[in-house]
Amino acid sequence: MTDVFGAEFLDRLHSSGAVKNPAPFEALRTTGFPNRRVEAWRYTDLASQLSQSLTPAGLRINQEQSGLFGPNPSADAVEGDALSLLNAAVGGEGFLFEVPAGAKLKPVFARFGPMAPNALVNATNRISVGEGAQAVLVERWGQTDDSWMNSDTAIDVADGGHLIRVILVEDGGNGTQTHRTFTALGENARYDALVVTLGGGLHRIEQHADINKPGAHAGLSAIVLKKGKEHSDFVTNVRHLAEDTTSDQQVRTVVDDEATAVFQGGIKVAQDSQRIEGDQLSRALMLSDRAQAFTKPELEIYADDVKCSHGATVGDLDAEALFYMRARGIDDAAARALLILAFAREPFDALDLPEQVQTMLDGKIQEWLGVAGRFDEMVL
C-alpha cells in the first residue's frame, strides 16, 4: 500500500519535518491525492506538482490596512479533500479577517506570496463578517517562481452581512495555486466572490457556499484568462439549504495557445428549499485551435419551486463586429483586444465593485491582452 498517488511526495514532506499534525497526514497517506479517475479531478492532473521537491514555507501577508487583518491563530482544519488534509497536516497558518457587526469598510487590499522560491505554502484562513457589516476584500495571490500555494478559507457572513471578495490569482512563473473557500451564509446575508486567474502553471480555485438561511445570496463568478500551457480549473458548489435564496455564477473564460480551462459548476437545492433562483452562465472564447475549454454543470435539485438556469457557450469572436471595427481603421489586433476585453468584463455587471477595484482588475485584463491602459473606460 505504498503506491497511493503522491506517496513519494508525502514521504519527502514527512522527512522534511514539516508534518505537524499526524492525524490528517495519516489520512492523506492512506488515500493519497486524487488522480484523474476521481470525477472532480477529471481534467486536472497533479502529477507534475507531486513530482516536485518543494520546501514547506509560511505565507507572507501584506495588507494595506492594519487592525482588521491578522494571523489566524486557530488554524482549524477545514473539511475538504486531500489538499485540505495536506494543509491540515502541515498546519499552515493563514490570515484572519474579522469585520465587526455593523461596520462598513472601505475596500481592504491584501497580497499573499511565498517567503522563498520553490516553496510549498499552506494556509488556513478565516473571514468573518458580523451582522449587518459590509466589506470588500481584495486578495492577490501571486508569485514569480514555481512555488505551490495551497489554502483553505472558511468564511461566515452573519445575518444581513455582505462580503464582496475579489480573489486575483496571478503568477509570473509556472507556479501552482490551489485554493478552496467554504462559505456559510446567514439570513439575508450576501457573499459575492469574483475570482480572476491569470498566468501560472496550474490554478484550481474552488468556491463552496452553503446558503443556510432565507434571503441569502451567493455569487460565485470568475474571469479566467489563460495562454501558453496554463491550466485552470474553477469549481463551484453552491448549496441552497434554505428557502427564498438566490445564487449566480458568471464565468467568462478566454483560452489561447495550448491553454486549458475547466469550469465545474455545481448548484444543489435541498428538498425543502422552495422559491430558489439559481443562475449559471459559462461562456468561453477560444483564441486558438489547440486551446481547450470544458464546462461541466452539475445541478441537483430536490425541491419543486425552483428556477435554475444554466448555459454554456464556446465560441469565437463576432466576425461582424470585427469587420465593423476594421472598416473604421482599427487594426485586427486592436479590434480583437476590444472584443475580448468587453467579454472578460461581463462578470463586473453582476457585482457592485468599488470603482478603484474594478479599475485595477480592468487594468490587469488589459495588461494580459497586451493593451495596458489603452482602453480604459472614458469619463464623459
Partner: protein
C-alpha cells in the same frame, strides 16, 4: 478619386451579384445610386470596404489610384474610405466613445499625427456629437447597443464626421430617420462637402437628394448600372418606379 472598372463579384458559393459595374467618381462629386431591393447596392459598398464572404471575379477598384482589393479593411479606411452601413453592427461591452477614440487615433497614427489623449478627444467628440444631436448618454453606451434605428444612423454620421474620409459611401443612411433627423444628418453630410471629398449616396428616396444634391444619379439593377443621369433621374424613379430601367 474612385474608379470602379468592370467589377464582377458574387458570393463565395459562385452566386453572381455584380455583373460588370463601371463607376468613376471625381474629387468633390456627389453620386447617388438608386435601385430595387437586392440589386447589389450594399454588395458594391461591402466589396469596396473589404467585407469577407464575397469573391471578386473580374474588374478593379482604385481609390486615388491605389488598388482597394490589395488592402485590408483597416488599410482602406486609412486610405480614406468610409462606409456608413445600412445595418450598423451592435458591439456589446465596447463603449462607443472608446471605439471612436480608437478609430480616430488609428487613423492619425497612420497619417503620422500624434494620438489624441482622452481630454482632447472628448472635446472634439462633444462638439461633433452636438451638431448631430447626439448626447453624452449615447456615447457612454456600448456601440449601437440599444440604439434606435435613427440613432444608429446618426452614430454612423458621427463616425464619418470624426474620421473625415476622402470618400464616404452612405448606404441608406436616410432610412429609419424622422424628418427632423433626416435634416440633421443631411446637414452633417453637407458640412463635410468639400472639393477634395466625395460621396456615394445609396438611397431609395428622392427626398434625401433634396438635401444632399447629387451631381450624378445612377440606377443599379440586377448588378449593373443601367442608367446614369443628373438629379432629375431620381425624380423620374420616384414617379414611375424602376420597371422601365430593368435590365433586359
Amino acid at each position: 478619386m474612385l474608379d470602379i472598372k468592370g467589377l464582377q463579384a458574387g458570393l463565395e458559393d459562385g452566386t453572381e451579384i455584380l455583373k460588370g459595374i463601371n463607376l468613376s467618381i471625381g474629387a468633390g462629386e456627389v453620386h447617388a445610386i438608386m435601385g430595387p431591393n437586392g440589386s447589389g447596392k450594399s454588395t458594391t459598398a461591402n466589396i469596396l470596404s473589404g467585407k469577407s464572404g464575397y469573391d471578386v471575379t473580374a474588374g478593379s477598384a482604385t481609390l486615388d489610384g491605389a488598388d482597394l482589393f490589395e488592402m485590408e479593411p483597416e488599410e482602406r479606411a486609412h486610405a480614406g474610405l468610409f462606409q456608413a452601413f445600412q445595418y450598423p453592427v451592435e458591439i456589446p461591452g465596447v463603449q462607443a466613445s472608446t471605439f471612436l477614440q480608437t478609430a480616430v487615433n488609428a487613423k492619425r497614427k497612420v497619417a503620422g499625427l500624434p494620438e489624441l489623449d482622452a481630454l482632447a478627444f472628448v472635446r472634439e467628440l462633444r462638439a461633433k456629437a452636438k451638431q448631430l444631436g447626439i448626447g453624452n448618454d449615447m456615447l457612454k453606451r456600448a456601440v449601437n447597443v440599444g440604439f434606435s434605428g435613427g440613432e444608429k444612423k446618426r452614430f454612423e454620421t458621427l463616425q464619418m464626421a470624426l474620421l473625415e474620409p476622402r470618400l464616404a459611401v452612405l448606404d441608406e443612411t436616410d432610412s429609419g430617420l424622422d424628418v427632423d433627423a433626416l435634416r440633421v444628418v443631411a446637414e452633417g453630410v453637407n458640412a463635410l462637402r468639400s472639393p477634395d471629398r466625395s460621396f456615394l449616396v445609396i438611397t431609395h428616396y428622392q427626398r434625401l437628394l433634396d438635401y444632399i444634391v447629387p451631381d450624378y444619379v445612377h440606377i443599379l439593377s440586377d448588378g449593373k448600372i443601367v442608367k446614369s443621369g443628373d438629379k432629375s433621374l431620381a425624380l423620374e424613379v420616384e414617379q414611375s418606379g424602376y420597371a422601365e430601367f430593368e435590365a433586359a
